[in-house]
């Protein structure tokens, strides 16, 4: 069995690399709390490349408008059909923002309609127990749309999440050096462990 590699999706439009420290932090959390064999560094993979098929979980974020190329859309459809899970996070945390409006449009065109994910979904108990998506400091601080989003959205196929979409701005919440976790009384990257465990086990 090969090690789990956390992959960040690279797309032509927008700023796909706006949260460069998220992969390291997620890897740290997976290593810290689970015995999942995990690669010490993440991978950056082009959405149009068939390399995406090597990664069970793909992370996508950004602030700027998202417009998939035909190649990216086709490969993403293949990826989802073959059991991959795409996690998309709106780094603007703004439902009126450019990323949200364009990304939702592109995702629905590529994968199907996004529906609100119930807060008692398996995802929230895949490893740690959550009552719903953890609130981020950026929501509470009034960044972006100044809203606390109660639910995540998802494309579900066969009872399984294939695309998870978040306006919570986990990209900001988790984009810090893992060494700084020692300053947190509660590790705010624990939800990332649920994401990884869900992607690997469902």
């Amino acid at each position: 069995m090969s090690d789990f590699v956390f992959a960040t999706g690279q797309y032509e439009s927008g700023d796909w690399d706006s949260a460069p420290l998220v992969p390291a932090n997620v890897i740290d959390a997976v290593a810290r709390y689970t015995s999942i064999p995990v690669a010490p560094s993440g991978a950056i993979v082009s959405l149009a490349s068939s390399d995406v098929l090597r990664y069970p979980l793909l992370y996508l974020t950004g602030h700027l408008p998202v417009r998939f190329t035909a190649g990216e859309r086709a490969m993403l459809q293949t990826y989802l059909a073959r059991g991959g899970m795409l996690f998309v996070d709106d780094h603007n945390h703004d439902v009126d923002g450019a990323f949200h409006t364009t990304a939702v449009e592109e995702l629905e065109r590529t994968a199907g309609p996004l529906v609100e994910l119930p807060n008692d979904h398996d995802l929230y108990s895949a490893f740690f127990e959550f009552d719903g998506p953890p609130t981020t400091a950026h929501e509470l601080n009034g960044w972006g749309d100044n809203l606390v989003h109660k639910q995540l959205r998802a494309v579900i196929r066969g009872g399984r999440i294939v695309v998870l979409y978040s306006n919570k701005d986990y990209s900001s919440e988790w984009s810090y050096h893992p060494d700084n976790k020692r300053f947190l009384s509660v590790d705010n990257t624990r939800f990332a462990v649920n994401l990884v465990v869900y992607a690997l086990s469902r």
């Binding site: 700023d15 290593a31 810290r32 560094s41 993440g42 127990e129 959550f130 810090y176 009384s185």
Partner: protein, 685 residues
């Protein structure tokens, strides 16, 4: 008064006495009867203490009510006419002659004397006396019955009714049930004598909190089966005295579980020791470390002492060290030691440095000390923080030694653009009152500060472009044009790094991310140039628009900081062995090296899950298992104690225990609960 009249009045007195006595007796019957009923009910079905504590007042009210009612009913005994009628009722042969004789209308008539003669031999007094006695005999008999019942009631039962209190569960007489020696446990705790507090009694406690060393006495109703107390592997037989079994032991210093078994069933009691804390001592004076120039004078000492149960003594401890180099002498002294009483005290004293023999260069280390009354696990000694009073060495002040200040941060010497604007605006306002020379001097001073700020902005721009901080000075300052367009400056920056600016910076048109980020700063930079030039020629009015523009551009640059530059980020590599604390030992696995995954909490977690299974199956020992777990958690997982306690209470009371069980699981390290809504600290984007 006629003879008949005297007879009637005598009968009235008899009847009044009978009514009063009868009423009192009925009152006693009602009171005692009610208490008898209460005792009987308590013996058969058990009456709660809350109800029993009201029985005496209720019986009193019933008794007084009965007395008043009976007196009201017998109130006609006070009327002569009524008594005469009553006698006529008892002796019909009188044919209303007696009533007529008592009638005032005939009082002075010949009829009265004739009636008196006729009534003289009637002799109704005996009949009336017999009737009065009859009215006393019935309540007297009833009183005798109820009082006899009360007198022969079991002492425990009467005590439960007359003196209800904690621990009387054992006094209940079991008439309708078999004696269960473990049905009721009464625990009496006598604190150690030094605490000087009264004993406390608890009925059927699940756990007992008491000071270490307290005398704990557990009692139950003695039955056919003897009771044994089990503490770990040790079994202690209880002592049976009369109708009770009892066992005494001192409160242990650590939480322990005692189990009481009678061969058929068991009950457990959790012993949670309360520790007598050491006294808390605060040194109020001297308030801080001090250096005295000479070894003279008196140093005032003051301290506040407090203890949870009682102070025994307090004093100041002074350590004096004299000498220098490698030759020091030390001495320790207790100052103002005195016995204390109560839970708080103030301590004051003075140290005469001359009497103490302090010399130049001496050090005095002062602290306050308090001892509590704890004779069981103590005594507890509390000390304050230590203050140091130093007497200066001879000649210490003969020379002046100054330590250099640390270098000031560069940024702190810069005036902000806002402050420069304020200075320029003030200069413009004052200009009519100032000479041209002064205006020129002050304007140029602002210009110099503006130039420094402009250079700092340039440093930031050039640092982003990969040049050294001196880039602006080296490559732009010397340009004849001075102010550059953003693109010119970028090109200059590129030249400074020996690279083509456009190529190196992915420059496509006017709005590449690099330009987007730097454009506001470049605009600020150029506006500062213009402002500085105007200020240099003593034209602050002309400089102000440029200064406003510079400030506005800086603001925009700050807002633009959320935009990230595109490019491939450096790969962050996580040191997995370090994160997993797995070290380098080949036999180590992440699971057994990770904190919290093993050890006592893991064992508790296993026990917790097993206990939950038993609880879910409805097994009676499931609850006991949770209680045992709670005992273990007192030392190994204190954060799980409260939720476990709540869960046990909820299960016992039939409430929903889910939330508490979940929190207990989280506290034991099973599945953490992700209900934290916000993190107290986080990185900004």
């Amino acid at each position: 008064m006629t003879g008949a009249g005297a007879g009637v009045r005598a009968s009235r007195r008899v009847l009044i006495a009978a009514v009063i006595l009868g009423s009192v007796l009925w009152s006693v019957v009602s009171m005692v009867g009610l208490l008898d009923v209460a005792m009987a009910l308590d013996a058969f079905i058990g009456v709660p203490r809350g109800v029993r504590s009201w029985m005496i007042p209720i019986a009193g009210i019933v008794g007084v009510g009965t007395l008043i009612l009976r007196l009201w009913w017998g109130r006609r005994a006070g009327s002569v006419q009524s008594v005469a009628l009553f006698i006529e009722h008892l002796v019909p042969d009188l044919r209303y002659r007696l009533v007529t004789a008592m009638d005032r209308h005939y009082e002075s008539t010949p009829l009265a004397s004739r009636l008196d003669e006729q009534l003289a031999p009637a002799g109704w007094e005996r009949t009336v006396a017999a009737e009065g006695a009859k009215r006393i005999i019935r309540p007297l008999a009833a009183s005798a019955v109820v009082l006899t019942a009360m007198a022969f009631a079991p002492s425990g039962t009467s005590r439960r009714v007359f003196q209800p209190g904690a621990g009387d569960a054992l006094d209940r007489v079991a008439l309708a049930r078999a004696v269960d020696p473990l049905a009721d446990l009464v625990v009496t705790i006598a604190p150690p004598p030094y605490v000087n507090r009264a004993s406390q009694t608890f009925e059927n406690p699940e756990e007992v909190h008491a000071l270490v060393g307290s005398d704990v006495r557990v009692q139950g109703v003695a039955g056919e089966r003897s009771v044994v107390m089990v503490a770990g592997a040790q079994r202690t037989a209880t002592v049976t005295q009369g109708a009770r079994w009892a066992v005494r032991f001192p409160m242990p210093p650590r939480p322990e579980l005692r189990r009481f078994e009678d061969g058929q069933r068991g009950r457990q009691l959790l012993l949670v020791p309360v520790t007598d804390s050491a006294p808390v001592v605060r040194l109020d004076a001297p308030p801080r470390d001090t250096v005295l120039p000479d070894p003279t004078g008196v140093i005032d000492l003051a301290a506040t002492l407090a203890d949870d149960y009682g102070l025994d003594a307090g004093w100041f401890e002074v350590i004096v060290s004299t000498g220098q180099g490698e030759s020091f002498q030390f001495g320790t002294a207790r100052v103002s030691e005195r016995p204390l009483a109560g839970t708080s005290a103030q301590l004051r004293a003075g140290i005469d440095l001359v009497a103490l023999g302090a010399t130049h260069g001496a050090f005095l280390h002062v602290r306050a000390v308090a001892r509590d009354l704890n004779t069981v696990s103590g005594p507890g000694i509390g000390v304050s923080e230590t203050r140091t009073v130093r007497v200066a060495r001879r000649g210490e002040y003969d020379s002046i030694a100054l330590e250099a200040l640390p270098p000031l941060a560069a940024d702190s010497s810069l005036l902000s653009q806002r402050l420069l604007i304020m200075l320029a605006e003030e200069l413009v306002q004052r200009r009519p009152e100032l000479s041209e020379t002064t205006v020129t001097r002050e304007s140029r001073a602002i210009a110099r500060d503006q130039e420094r700020l402009r250079r700092r902005v340039a440093e930031i721009i050039f640092m982003r472009l990969g040049d050294a901080e001196a880039g602006e000075h080296a490559h732009v300052e010397d340009t004849p044009a001075g102010a550059l367009s953003p693109e010119d400056l970028l090109a200059a920056a590129g030249a400074a790094t020996a690279e083509g600016a456009g190529e190196a910076l992915d420059f496509h048109g006017d709005e590449t991310p690099v330009v987007a980020v730097n454009r506001p700063l470049l605009e600020a930079y150029n506006a500062m140039w213009d402002a500085g030039r105007a200020l240099g020629v003593a034209d602050p009015e002309g400089a102000l628009p440029h200064m406003y523009a510079a400030l506005e551009a800086i603001q925009r640059a700050r807002a633009a900081e959320r935009i990230y530059l595109r490019g491939r980020p450096a790969a962050a590599v996580i040191d997995l062995p370090r994160v997993r604390l797995s070290g380098t030992a080949p036999t180590s696995t992440p699971a057994d090296r990770r904190p919290g995954a093993g050890g006592s909490r893991a064992r508790l977690l296993g026990r917790y899950r097993a206990a939950l299974t038993r609880v879910a199956m409805g097994a009676p020992d499931g609850l006991d298992s949770l209680m045992l777990l709670r005992l273990a958690a007192l030392t190994d997982a204190p954060d799980a104690v409260v939720p476990l306690n709540e869960a046990v209470s909820a299960l016992r009371e039939g409430r929903e225990p889910g939330g508490f069980l979940r929190r207990a699981l989280a506290a034991l390290g099973g599945v953490p609960v992700g209900s934290v809504a916000a993190t107290p600290w986080s990185i900004m984007p």
